[in-house]
Symmetry: D2
Subunit: 391 residues, 4 copies
Amino acid sequence: MPGRNHLFVPGPTNIPERIRRAMDVPLEDHRAGDFPDFAKPLFEDIKKIFQTSAGQVFIFNSSGTGGWEAAITNTLSPGDGVLQSRFGQFSHLWAELCRKHAMEVTLVEAPWGEAVPYERYAEILKADTAHKIKAVLVTHNETATGVTSDIPRVRKILDDLKHPALLMIDGVSAIGCIDFRMDEWGVDIAVSGSQKGLMLPTGLGLVGVSQKALEWRKTAKCHRAYFDFDDQLRMNADGWFPYTPAMTLIRGLRESINMLLEEGLPNVYARHARYAEAVRKGVAAWGLELCARDPASYSNTVSAIVVPMNKNANDVVKNAYARYNLSLGGGLGDVAGKVFRIGHMGDLNEIMVLSALAGTEMALRDSGIDVAPGSGVGAASEYLRTTLKPA
Amino acid sequence: MPGRNHLFVPGPTNIPERIRRAMDVPLEDHRAGDFPDFAKPLFEDIKKIFQTSAGQVFIFNSSGTGGWEAAITNTLSPGDGVLQSRFGQFSHLWAELCRKHAMEVTLVEAPWGEAVPYERYAEILKADTAHKIKAVLVTHNETATGVTSDIPRVRKILDDLKHPALLMIDGVSAIGCIDFRMDEWGVDIAVSGSQKGLMLPTGLGLVGVSQKALEWRKTAKCHRAYFDFDDQLRMNADGWFPYTPAMTLIRGLRESINMLLEEGLPNVYARHARYAEAVRKGVAAWGLELCARDPASYSNTVSAIVVPMNKNANDVVKNAYARYNLSLGGGLGDVAGKVFRIGHMGDLNEIMVLSALAGTEMALRDSGIDVAPGSGVGAASEYLRTTLKPA
Amino acid sequence: MPGRNHLFVPGPTNIPERIRRAMDVPLEDHRAGDFPDFAKPLFEDIKKIFQTSAGQVFIFNSSGTGGWEAAITNTLSPGDGVLQSRFGQFSHLWAELCRKHAMEVTLVEAPWGEAVPYERYAEILKADTAHKIKAVLVTHNETATGVTSDIPRVRKILDDLKHPALLMIDGVSAIGCIDFRMDEWGVDIAVSGSQKGLMLPTGLGLVGVSQKALEWRKTAKCHRAYFDFDDQLRMNADGWFPYTPAMTLIRGLRESINMLLEEGLPNVYARHARYAEAVRKGVAAWGLELCARDPASYSNTVSAIVVPMNKNANDVVKNAYARYNLSLGGGLGDVAGKVFRIGHMGDLNEIMVLSALAGTEMALRDSGIDVAPGSGVGAASEYLRTTLKPA
Amino acid sequence: MPGRNHLFVPGPTNIPERIRRAMDVPLEDHRAGDFPDFAKPLFEDIKKIFQTSAGQVFIFNSSGTGGWEAAITNTLSPGDGVLQSRFGQFSHLWAELCRKHAMEVTLVEAPWGEAVPYERYAEILKADTAHKIKAVLVTHNETATGVTSDIPRVRKILDDLKHPALLMIDGVSAIGCIDFRMDEWGVDIAVSGSQKGLMLPTGLGLVGVSQKALEWRKTAKCHRAYFDFDDQLRMNADGWFPYTPAMTLIRGLRESINMLLEEGLPNVYARHARYAEAVRKGVAAWGLELCARDPASYSNTVSAIVVPMNKNANDVVKNAYARYNLSLGGGLGDVAGKVFRIGHMGDLNEIMVLSALAGTEMALRDSGIDVAPGSGVGAASEYLRTTLKPA
């Protein structure tokens, strides 16, 4: 099949050439005497991406799912209360994982397409005068629905109630794309993975941990070993990893951090916002709607697009892939068949965004959804063109 | 600058991943005992791309310009007559090269945008009863104007007149993209380079040579050494090169040939024709015109697009590159500032073609050329969508 | 620093060019419709490397340490008895991990340099008439000391006693290098990692599981989620992974399996044996001794070499790295400073083995250990030369 | 075949990882507006490698053979006298090339293994009072025999005689490895290729040209086009190439220059000298002799080693390659079968040098040449170890 694949799933994202080359290296001795010269600055700089200076960021050989497990098992004990809202596949899965680790999960169902139900969170936490809830979970950016929740607002609920629960954030499809301020927002644990905003292959789970959360590990009774913060803390301090690190990915992570800091995080966030808005202009021009209901919670990294009632969103995904080598995200869980998703995060530029829309337009028409050819691209391109700032 | 460069100059073209990996190899001993096991099939298979079985194809470490020189110096003598038509920058340059090698060039000026002036060629050759013209040159696909000439028609002129001149073709931006039949069309020398239809980096000059042309080397008095056919003939026969070959490119060439033969040359040509037509649909939707005047000679590898009289085509190219990381071709020589060019050859698929149009649309509007946003993409995408054959 | 690093730590090992290229790919959609066409044969073929047809092999984004955790948590319950012998750093660490998961570990201390204490295992298991010991752990190849234990012999102990405990093997530095027959030897769980015999970067934990062990997961009460066999079983059946797989490594794994099967596992094992013997010839020529005491348990993947009493093995490692860019393994745990290690596993040939010895000779002399220059290389090379079979 | 190839032919040489990655790039538009920002510093910095500030260095898509042709055709006219000495295959070939371009070659035969016959050069030039000899050619480092000639001594001959002939140097296997001072030594033309000291794949011919030689182009009557200095001069001045440059190689060249300048040319030369001496220590320990007769002319980039009278050097090369994947150079031309060659130039370190010797020792013994196992490696390693300077 000639030409390249057009990768617009909401992760993994496109690897920039610089990172690709940084990973194309022979293997190395991770116990070499000069290894800490490499690792120590890395441990410092990854913290900048999480916008934390008070906390730590641990790097695991795992996916983001492993990060979820690390968050829970290092700070909580079996039977502890966990508050989570289920409004998409990934908030659903984190709650499931908590249950597997014997947490008492208070699961608040919310419509898929909405953000965290702040009011319900507030009510539940207010009612929890015994502080049985030890952790409040928020999926910052629900990848299944393209909805971003307001972390400071959740923080404020906890603060107002003086509730001591840890605030744990799934930042997998947000960190490195959407503004995320671990320290300023009072986040206790933030989980991410390598294959989204960090523009790397899958294989690293990154977990930002506040000092408060680190303290909790001392009383947490969940069994843990592979994901134990203790081993990381002890070894990282001297520039080592507790077991063999996934060095090709970690060499890529070094370059990823370099790129993000060179561009500047505010610029990175603004770029994602602008591209997301362009995609939304395109969707509007097609006459279609987003799964996300409230513009305030539109995601800047993924748009889940609802197909007309009598159509199957999976057809769009299939046609895009089979006919045009365009990889879109399908609907997951409760919205399977109802939405398809365009990932617009990571290493993108204007024309790449337009290429996703151009391919999607064709796939929509192939699937019997009558959008005007060129309409989405035209709306998006005019927005992009007129909002471009000179370099 | 985030995201990838969008390369739509008319060469170099995009390297497919398979070829990129094939070239990412350690260096090797080109005198190793098993080297001929690799080289001999290569020498055979490259002939298939030229559609010759009677001739030879020589592989030089050079650009296509070197191939031009090889063609002339191996078959002609100083003072020999050469017939060439000047209707673009590359036909111009080949004629210049002939002059540097002391050929007597009969240069037929033709409007840039037209094909070889067949009638004038016929007249001149008819008048050349003394057969002072030893070589008839045709730039098969003039990259500067997006015009493809009719090689069999030139052959017929020679045949009808029983004129013995060698028929020499510049196939640099044609071979591997546009149907080219060296044996069937009676071509004596065909020159190509690695960075166009072969989807490789620049660095290889490929020269197809008929038995008749090979015979002529015995009387040709031009001095030659680096490009001497003799050395190639003698060494290639046993699977060697006369001097150190550019092995990374040659490993890539092996993969390139594999890919072209796997897809099948007729499919490759049809794909190029279809993408070219899509681009032309886009240009028409913009209300712009091609530099090429006669639809019969529209190039399937490059479209030179004329901007309105009061506009500067260089602005389009500059804006495309500076604002969107889109590389278009500028106007060269006589059409500088008047046309810009979209290369659509090599490793492309539908969405890549549309991405070129999407970026060009923005650059046109940035340059004050009022095309409707999405119009070109829409026209092209609908054409591509409805002409796509199931895999 | 000019020239390449010479990587002879006992993992990670050298990546072959074929694998390196196989991993140098753009990212891809792991939910694409044709993904199972890739994944299903992979799930089958990795079983061949473990020599199992009755069992399953699960592929985790983790290191081998994660594989240890998967083995324990999927089959056992807190408080279960585990029998392990501590005779090196890695057998030590697996026991520690079991303790973290609340197992009752019966830890048999054995001298570092010896294999599993078979007699003690037999006695303990015989005494365990209540079958409180649920798992018998064996570190097949103790990477810290260069000692290989006899797995069939441990199996026989269990069989003779009709003891139902699961037999769990750490095969991290053995599988793909040293003969390992999961089915034939009655192994219930075998753990490996990507960065040793599989010649890949670190980042994949591979766990072979017998049907018996799979059955045990139904009653195992350890909490588990990331490493849950259930999710893998269910998803793998249809050619999927339960969460985003580390695709660059997995594309490499495909190529690694191809290479091992092309060479043939018996040939791979024989090659490792021959290179290991060459290293031992070299060590003998130096007048030094191995940490491994019994020739029957000499490891074919790593040799731990004892330095004279008044010398520091760390000096050898430091000099090798700082002066010659040669990466050797240092002594770990109880043998720190007393031994250094040469890894000789994975993608090696004769001259690579000799290069390790040549560099070590210099580093030994630099560290005040008076070996005769060229002695180790000479002894090894003559052995290699005279035992080479024609290709 | 497991493990890597050991490349010790006298070019191509090993590509350093940094250069390999620098070349693993997508193609680019060599007419992009910002291209001169890249090219202009490159044109300046390559001059540093030739140690010229007064001259120019032109970069051709060719091999070094093309550089020979460029040197001759841009400065001379058919019938011009050229003085060359034939003392190896490459001095032989350059003379042949001159003849093909109709030069009157005065060819001084010298024994293969000796340097330029300075006295004969002096006599001939003295006798040439009519200054019919327009160019004096010197193969600085004869790759076939491992002999380095004394360029300043030849310069002095010309100066003493006030002979105006151009001094042309083949520096292919010398520049970037052995001290070469174009300006200081009064060299008029220096030819090199990419695949030796520059550590790149074959494909670039580099030609350093003095102002005097540039001046001569105005009267030189040789026909030339592809290798015309004029086009390069005119285009390079503004940061362009006259035709499509081999960009992947040129991106590699940029990195190569960076590496050489970072290490420092004096350090590069000293490293080559030290490794060459180590090889010679090894050869002496084997009881074998070099083809080069005078220690003053021993090459620091390649050693040609004479096998005993009744043995065939080709057997050594064949055994090395077939049995150990070691690529050595065979004997060429007059010394075919009598010598084999070890290339020791480019990106090497101590252990790489020793690995060549270790493999050669085995191949010698396989070929019935009775060297003591380990003797060459031991002698070389002890020399390397004791002469290593702290980093």
